[in-house]
Amino acid sequence: MHPAFSVIFLTTLIGAGQGLYLALYTGQLYEVFKVLPVQDSAHFYAIGSLVAAVLLVAGLFSSFFHLGHPERAWRSAACWRTSWLSREVIALPAFLGMVSAYGLIHYMGWNPVLFTFRDTFAVDLSLLVGAVASLLGFTLFLCTAMIYACIKQLQEWATPLTVVNYTLLGSASGFMLATAFSAWRGSGLTDFFGGWAILITLIALVTRSASLIRNGRIKHKSSLETAIGIRHARIEQKSQGFMAGSFNTREYFHGAPKHVFNLVKWSFLVLVFPVPLVLVSIGLGTHTSSLLFIAFLVQYLGLLAERWFFFAQARHPQNLYYQTVG
């Protein structure tokens, strides 16, 4: 497939936004359950949510560049019963709204304790709103990934690993950002976020490698034999029927030479996993927030390459019909 930068930015930006929000909420949960000391929380969570919301809005903005008719984008919420894209279109603004509400509750201090759980854990409004937002955050990961995973004939995508990788890679970059953000705000949660960022990145390394191995060994179900329905071991296209360009020759071929394709693969493997892991470990050890921020940026850059590769690696069966100009 031809990687579209609008979609690459959409998926990576909202992934980081979702991850950042989930990090903030995890932090708050740990506080409530008294695993971590309570922070000077109001502004920390408010500004954190604002950053997450900005990332989500930036992703949403980017997605409009993918559309032929952005002014009709509102129509795309119609078919949520059948279309994962439609579900994403609903889940993204819903999540954005709940994250904003969560941030606003913290900022304005509208945070009455709703009830007390076992007389020790005070459950306030932000915790409840945050739980809904977290659920929506995971739903959004599922919707985004299922857009790709549900297309049967794009066999590189049609695997549960796609959902796992979108969730883990988005969370990893979000927790990286949370680590940097927390260090910058001087919050006591930095080590907590950093630990999770390292752990999630390591698990993502395993699952992303698993999908690379799977896709490396993939056997494509379609061949020229099934494409034109003639049973013969040697079928060669002599003409695709036209010499000029077409949607078919643009949309489904990444067009990058083999060495560039491989370069992108190895760059994302280096930039998403080992480099940020080293940077964040040093950053946590030395308490340098700039290093933690660089770790996030490097990983984000790597994720852009990862997403490019994700698209480029998928081989659409329609390409069988467009092998030779003639």
């Binding site: 993918h66 994962w84 297309i151 049967k152 379609s222 029927g241 077409s246 949309e251 329609q318």
Partner: protein, 243 residues
């Protein structure tokens, strides 16, 4: 429930592209907007087409065979492009099974084109919506046309009658009969799309000659060959039987 479709006979398609040009001509002239050609005379031209004829070579030289292969939307009975559409612009008509795009609802997200294994949906670069073969829905029901012209433009144009049009669910239609009797098949059955369009395979007319058939073992001349003339004083058959 009827399902209109094309049945394409690969045995007689000669690859003349008449269906391609007539399709383009008809569909670029309709009220739904033209099929955009960008840079038609420039360096890198590109255009929207609903139908293409491709050419494949099957076999090893010298035992090769050239197959001309027309490809347009197959109007699947389980169209994967329809459920993925987020706006409902892409739909399959209940009454005749034609898969269509509502150009006024389409947002041009291209998701349907990803979901179609056959690559028969194209984004029109001018109108910025997805377009595809409509089976000339603006022709086949047009009562101002003579009845024998209420067929898709490609079917009208085919000089070898390689394209049959009809209801494949009606067992008595020409299309359904052709599928049934001449080995009609579907493309990429592995994706469960159940294309309505079918293809009729190449056919070879061969006679089988066994070796013994090259020598006339039971040469009737051998039995009926002229016997030597009987002697004059031998009794004739008449003499022995007529006394």
């Amino acid at each position: 429930m009827s399902q209109l479709a094309l049945v394409i006979d690969l045995n007689v398609c000669v690859g003349c592209h008449a269906c391609v040009t007539s399709c383009k001509e008809w569909n670029t002239s309709g009220t739904a907007g033209y099929l955009a050609d960008m840079n038609p005379f420039g360096k890198d031209p590109t255009g929207t087409f609903f139908n293409r004829v491709q050419t494949f070579e099957v076999g090893n030289f010298p035992n090769t065979e050239t197959v001309h292969f027309p490809k347009s939307c197959l109007h699947c009975e389980e169209p994967p492009c329809v459920p993925v559409c987020p706006t409902g612009a892409s739909y399959k008509r209940d009454e005749d099974g034609i898969v269509l795009v509502d150009y006024d609802k389409c947002i041009g997200c291209k998701y349907c084109s990803w979901a179609c294994p056959y690559g028969v949906r194209e984004l029109d670069e001018h109108q910025k919506v997805m377009k595809k073969c409509t089976l000339c829905v603006d022709r086949i029901y047009d009562e101002s046309l003579p009845e024998n012209e209420r067929k898709p433009a490609c079917v009208m144009a085919c000089p070898t009658n390689a394209r049959l049009f009809g209801d494949v669910n009606d067992p008595d239609s020409e299309a359904a009969q052709a599928i049934r009797e001449r080995g009609g098949y579907q493309l990429m059955p592995e994706w469960g799309t159940r294309p309505a369009n079918h293809y009729l395979p190449r056919r070879k007319t061969r006679i089988t000659i066994h070796d013994d058939e090259l020598v006339r073992a039971d040469n009737p001349l051998n039995k009926e060959r002229q016997l030597p003339m009987p002697d004059a004083d031998d009794p004739t058959l008449d003499e022995t039987t007529s006394w």
